[in-house]
């Protein structure tokens, strides 16, 4: 397709970066969780964010999705600063996300969960919705069309009317993915999508992420412990340790970076923490 070149690697760097993270510092009281990290995610790129436990991945991720406000630094999306914007605006900017420990609307059906993700596409308020004015109907029909496409893509049609809490974990993860995708985001933030999945499911996920990137022509930022998955699907990998960036490059470059090997295998005694 049009962006086959992008799928091949970090070729799309010629285009302006979609997400730019500059000199982000996050302090909680006296603890510095993130100490001046910068990186960029390009259009149609899959970027993996890795690092040992406590490296600051999730903190950084929460800054990008607006849950935390960084102490210092700036985050730009499509060239515009989004640091400190209200959380409910992020989806409108085109940033969708999933959660590490699943944050589905438990009592709602799969269908309603996914449709909830389309909230930011609609404008019909209380009055228009209660009266079913033409605009409200049109919006509902459009969301419905997107819903059916996604239920098909993620193999959720059979469980569409089932309350989401009664589904197995792997299925719930797909529901969350559908919910994040329905609004057509430009950047998808995935917090440990492979967590809790078995071997076969991880293989399926790798293929699915590639497929999603192609179909929705979006970028993905992936926080993940599952090294095999990250190295397999990412065009670019950013490695963190103790709140600092220790590597940034293609999976092969990062894999052979001595700092990364040291951080993961603990070759040298860790006296850097001080």
């Amino acid at each position: 397709m049009a962006h086959d070149a992008a799928a091949g690697g970090p070729v799309a760097a010629a285009v302006a970066a979609l997400l730019e993270v500059s000199d982000i510092v996050v302090r909680f009281g006296g603890v510095t969780a993130v100490a001046g990290v910068s990186f960029a995610v390009d259009q149609h790129q899959i970027c993996g964010l890795i690092g040992p436990n406590g490296a600051g991945k999730t903190t950084l991720f929460n800054c990008i999705s607006g849950i935390y406000r960084p102490t210092e630094g700036e985050i730009r999306f499509e060239g515009e600063t989004i640091t400190g914007a209200p959380r409910h605006r992020m989806m409108g900017f085109g940033i969708g996300r999933t959660f590490q420990n699943l944050a589905l609307f438990r009592s709602l059906s799969v269908r309603d969960n996914v449709l909830a993700g389309a909230h930011c596409l609609g404008h019909a308020g209380f009055m228009a919705s209660a009266l079913r004015l033409p605009r409200a109907r049109r919006e509902a029909a459009e969301a419905e069309a997107r819903l059916h496409h996604l239920l098909g893509l993620l193999d959720l049609e059979a469980v569409a009317e089932v309350p989401v809490a009664s589904l197995p974990f792997g299925t719930q993860k797909r529901v969350e993915l559908a919910r994040a995708l329905i609004s057509g985001p430009k950047l998808l933030l995935l917090d440990e999508p492979a967590g809790g999945l078995n071997h076969g499911e991880v293989d399926g996920l790798a293929a699915l992420l590639q497929d999603i990137r192609r179909q929705f022509s979006l970028s993905i930022l992936l926080v993940e412990h599952h090294m095999n998955l990250v190295m397999r699907v990412s065009d670019k990998v950013v490695a963190l340790d103790f709140g600092k960036k220790i590597a940034d490059g293609t999976p092969d470059e990062v894999r052979s970076e001595p700092e990364v090997i040291r951080a993961y295998l603990g070759e040298a005694p860790h006296d850097r923490a001080a």
Binding site: M91, F105, R106, A124, F126, L131, E139
Partner: protein, 338 residues
């Protein structure tokens, strides 16, 4: 093939409004089949159903526990009574104004409610319910509220020379308005707004990440809820022909809460059952034992919650679920077979 299944679902939809139409006709039938005091009781049950629906929207659907909805009911009732008695307005013209007053009040209370979660909000709204009857007695407002005496208003007669007595007209008028409110609520709760209400109740952080403005939605939901319960209060003033501070004690708020739980939390149809329950079960209790109706009522309530823990609506859903699923699957196969 996601496209192939889409029409099947869309076509199964019109049956829902059709079912509602059937229920609406069923609701109107008692005008001609029931008489006198029984019809008056039914009118009250319809009014309570509307009030419980209002409470259910904010508490059942949006998860903001209110133990003080009797306050909005009281304000709606007094608004109508004062407009009729002091300003000579026709009863029907007072309803939209009473609705707006209650919506404004609900909206105002929605803001402090944002800062108070769960049980704290329940207690705060409870305090509102405790305060309102006393405020209504306050002597500075006596010129309008009639103080402890309350306000008497006249029962409306059927308009346009309709061959209905006052009781019949009252039932018809109340029920038509109630059906309209139920239909609008049905639309609202099945729209993106209703979905957002439930999403915020279930998982506020994710709801926010989905682009839902929690403060805005919660305050507006509170306003809509207060408005609906306020309209019920206004209708009750017309039906009872009288308002007084003691008709709106804390017990009223508790009664609405009981009706909501018994009918089914987060259920539209459950509100109808809740309305019937809170009007007729105390009567039944009194028939069983004149000495201790409260005990009988309590026992019935406990038995009820024991047998139907998810309320009447949950019970219906459990009954109808398998049937509905079979019917829906049938519809889908037919569509595909075409």
């Amino acid at each position: 093939m996601p496209v192939a299944t889409a029409p099947a679902r869309a076509e199964s939809r019109p049956l829902v409004p059709l079912a509602i139409l059937g229920l609406a006709l069923l609701a109107l039938a008692p005008t001609f089949l029931v008489e006198g005091y029984r019809l008056f009781q039914l009118t009250l049950a319809v009014i309570y159903a509307v009030a419980i629906l209002g409470l259910n929207i904010v508490t059942g659907y949006n998860g903001q526990i209110s133990l003080g909805h009797g306050a909005f009911y009281a304000v709606g009732a007094y608004a109508t009574a004062i407009m009729m008695a002091s300003f000579g307005m026709p009863y029907w013209a007072t309803l939209p104004i009473a609705a707006l007053i209650c919506a404004g009040l609900g909206y105002a209370i929605g803001f402090p409610a944002l800062r108070l979660g769960g049980l704290y909000l329940a207690l705060t709204t409870f305090a509102l319910a405790v305060a309102v009857p006393q405020i209504l007695k306050y002597h500075a407002f006596e010129e309008w509220t009639g103080g402890v005496q309350g306000v008497f208003i006249a029962k409306p007669d059927a308009p346009f020379g309709l061959p209905l007595n006052a009781d019949q007209w009252l039932y018809l008028f109340t029920t038509v308005i109630a059906v309209a409110i139920f239909l609008l609520s049905w639309n609202l709760l099945r729209s993106r707004i209703g979905r957002a209400m439930m999403a915020i109740r279930d998982q506020p952080i994710a709801a926010e990440a989905m682009g839902m403005d929690i403060a805005r939605l919660k305050t507006r939901t509170f306003a809509v809820s207060a408005m609906i319960t306020g309209i019920a209060g206004a209708l009750s003033a017309i039906a009872v022909e009288f308002v007084s501070p003691d008709s709106f004690s804390v017990m009223l708020s508790i009664t609405l809460f009981v009706g909501m739980v018994v009918g089914g939390i987060a259920s539209i149809l459950g509100a109808v059952f809740g309305g019937l329950f809170v009007v007729f079960v105390p009567n039944l209790a009194e028939e069983i034992s004149k000495a201790a109706p409260g005990v009988i009522y309590g026992v019935i309530l406990i038995l009820f919650l024991f047998i139907l823990p998810t309320g009447f609506a949950g019970f219906l859903r459990r009954l109808a679920g398998p049937l509905l699923r079979r019917w829906r699957d049938g519809a889908t196969t037919n569509q595909d077979g075409r």
